[in-house]
Amino acid sequence: MEFVLLIFFPVLAAIFVPILFRKLKSIHTGWFVLIIPITLFIYYTGFIQTTMNGGHAISSLEWIPSLDISFVSYIDGLSLLFSLLITGIGALVVLYSIFYLDKTREKLNNFYVYLLMFMTAMLGIVQSDNIITLYLFWELTSISSFLLIGYWYTRDGSRFGALKSMLITVFGGLMMLGGFVLLGIMGDTYSIRELIANASNLVGQEFFILALVLVLLGAFTKSAQFPFYIWLPDAMEAPTPVSAYLHSATMVKAGLYLVARFTPVFAVSEVWIWLVTGIGLLTLFWGAFFAVKQTDLKAILAFSTVSQLGLIMSLLGASAISYHVDAGTALFKFAGFAAVFHLINHAVFKGSLFMVAGIVDHETGTRDIRKLGGLMGVMPISFTVAFIGSMSMAGLPPFGGFLSKELFLTSTLALKDFNLFNFSTWGIIFPIVAWIASVFTFIYSFYFVFKTFAGKRKKESLSVEPKEAPVGMLIAPVILAVLVVVIFFIPNVVGDTLVNPAVVAMQAGLYSHPSEVLVHVSAWHGWTPELLMTLGIIGLGSILFLTMRKWQPLYNLQPELLSLNGLYDSLMMAGEKGMNRLSRLYMTGVFRTYLIYMFVSIVVITLATLFIKDAFKVDFNSFAPLNAYGILTAVLLILSVVMILTAKTRITAVIALGGVGYSVAFFFVIYKAPDLALTQLVIETITVVLFLLAFHRLPELKRHGESKGFRLGNFIVAAGVGITMALVALSAHSQKLIPSISQFYKDTVYSEAGGGNIVNVILVDYRGFDTLFEIAVLSIAGIGVYSMIRLKLPGKGSTDESK
């Protein structure tokens, strides 16, 4: 089967969502939608056997073959892992949303259409082998994320958050496209596999570093890395199922996927390792540090997500070092394994935590941690789930997070022993920052669960009496919580089935079979430095958590204006105001201003071309001799023009205009153009009649108080145009760069078209279609005139639409 088509399955199924929503009001639309991720999940599990053996599957669909763009679904360990996460977590989130979103009050048709659109986009990102389609799906996730954040679009916060996330992620996406195009040019292919195979030729090319930085910008904005993370906390305005799905488990991991996927291409570069590891670690610390400041449950989780994404990012950076050392002996192979392993762990525990936050919000009516407390008794199941998730996040046994946290510490410790790129000097920073960040992770994990569920009930601050959530809403978080524990006990099964194949895909060329990765995870591995670090984290973390009330207010010392959010806000304000002022500067709303822009441009461009290109030449020899009739006609014409300019009454002006027209007709006679002369005479006569007809409905000629300066300005512009046109006329007459086709007409008019009047034959025969269209234009003008006369406008004269 062509499984590339399955990428489009969700979005095609979305067509039926609005219909089901309207026709079957009694059944929650979510039940129908649920079928889709479950089906896909089951289908994709079928690939596990293939990837465990180091194999892969390809299926493709031609799209624009001439540009080498096609939809290629390439499933290897890494793609498969992400596909399973997308569909698996997706199924749980849909299930959860069925109980979270009320079927009578919410616009479920919108919600599920966006969600399914997102699912397609996300599957597209992780399976595309073609970087152009990857980019397409990448932007589609930004769009669906925008729509989902703005789902409750009547709220200001939703719109603000949606726009912010859109601006930042689409900016990154565009940068990434630039990087992709550069890669495509350098490697002469848009296929990721071919780029990886060609990696050694790309290094050292002129734009290699630029491409690297651009691709990383895409990854960093999407995965909310410092300093781009600011959109993620504002994205929490989305309904909680969306936060759990897009903004923690899947979409924000697209950046990680991109980094993992392009590791084999860029790993040789020192810049890559420093940037990915450094920014990752900085984000880890920054997110953890500021998570403690937050008071909104979802905001805590948002900052914690930022921090955890940084953790995985830094591991991916460290895993690239494998390309610089002997893979068999070094510790860096842990990094790649740890990255993928923690990615799974994070998706699982963070998903459950978001769902609990949603439950708390749903049952108590608030997410403000200052108003919550003591819910343990009323919501025992939610508490258990939150406890398991938080402890896993804090990195404690017996939960999955402990294992990946230990692997992470191992990897950062290994960094200081790495001898290339100055790591031996600066490497010591990495374990230290990692350790401090882990302390804060420990604090916010405890803060999240215990401030909400332990302590005294604050009845007076809650508007509703809290109770445990309905069973259906608990199913999804409980499944995830169970997984958290299960992963702890069978880490090597997870490692063999999912992690190792993904590591092989990520570090192409280093391993030929997943079993060669040889990482054995165990909960107990002796009194290693990692374990001592963990004990330190628990010790210091506990002390700080217990004394939190004393030092938490210190966060308020940071002024809002100096934060990254303040920078974003002032940039937006300045942009909006500045652009507004700029466009008001030249968009005056006065017709004349725009015309002056046009005329001045014509003059400047034409004159500049004439003189810069040295195109102005006058050949006096080719001129026809003056003749008396010509001079007379010219004088007559100029006199008529002057009459129009100085006319005080309408009738004078009309007669003068007729004079100009008849003079032009005389010119046609003089220059041997009898057809033109006849037409001109007829048309001119009709025009004059037309003017006279229209006149009794038109106002008197008035100058409307045009000042001397106003007229002088007009005259300068007008004279400029006049002189330009005169010069063009002379120059065009004097030099013919290409031979005229007139001779062809003269030669063939009789033999080809059987006519004697060349002008007529050109019009009706050679250029017959032009004449046909000319007739069409005239008819359109006629219809326009007719309907304009018949048109009845409301409120003659006195009304003003804007008032």
Binding site: A653, L657, G722, M725, S742, M788, I789, G797, S802
Partner: protein, 113 residues
């Protein structure tokens, strides 16, 4: 002769643009009329004013006027007539709606943007 025509074209364009830039709607219409005359003569001059006889086949004549600009101008005359009549009606409707032909008063309101 070409020099003279260049001057005539220059005068026509200058007058046309000057009229189009003024505030009165009526003068703008006169301006567009002059503009098309200018353009027609420009076409004619570009092609060359020589040629001793009209472009109609006749025995023993080889020096015809250039037929191509003439064909173009013929089309242009008719089109410019269509445009002029449309603008006239447009002006009539605008005037009957707003009771003014002052272009400066016919700008958009700030509330609209």
């Amino acid at each position: 002769m070409e020099l003279l025509m260049a001057i005539v074209i220059g005068v026509l364009f200058t007058a046309a643009v000057y009229l189009i830039l003024s505030r009165s709607l009526l003068r703008i219409i006169f301006g567009t009329g002059l503009l098309s005359h200018g353009a027609h003569l420009l076409l004619l001059t570009m092609g060359g004013l020589g040629g001793t006889s009209p472009p109609v086949l006749a025995e023993g004549i080889t020096d015809y006027a250039d037929p191509l600009p003439q064909a173009l101008i013929l089309t242009a005359i008719v089109i410019s007539f269509g445009v002029t009549s449309f603008i006239l009606v447009l002006a009539y409707k605008t005037y009957s709606k707003h009771q003014t032909d002052n272009m400066d008063l016919m700008r958009g309101n700030d509330e609209h943007d």
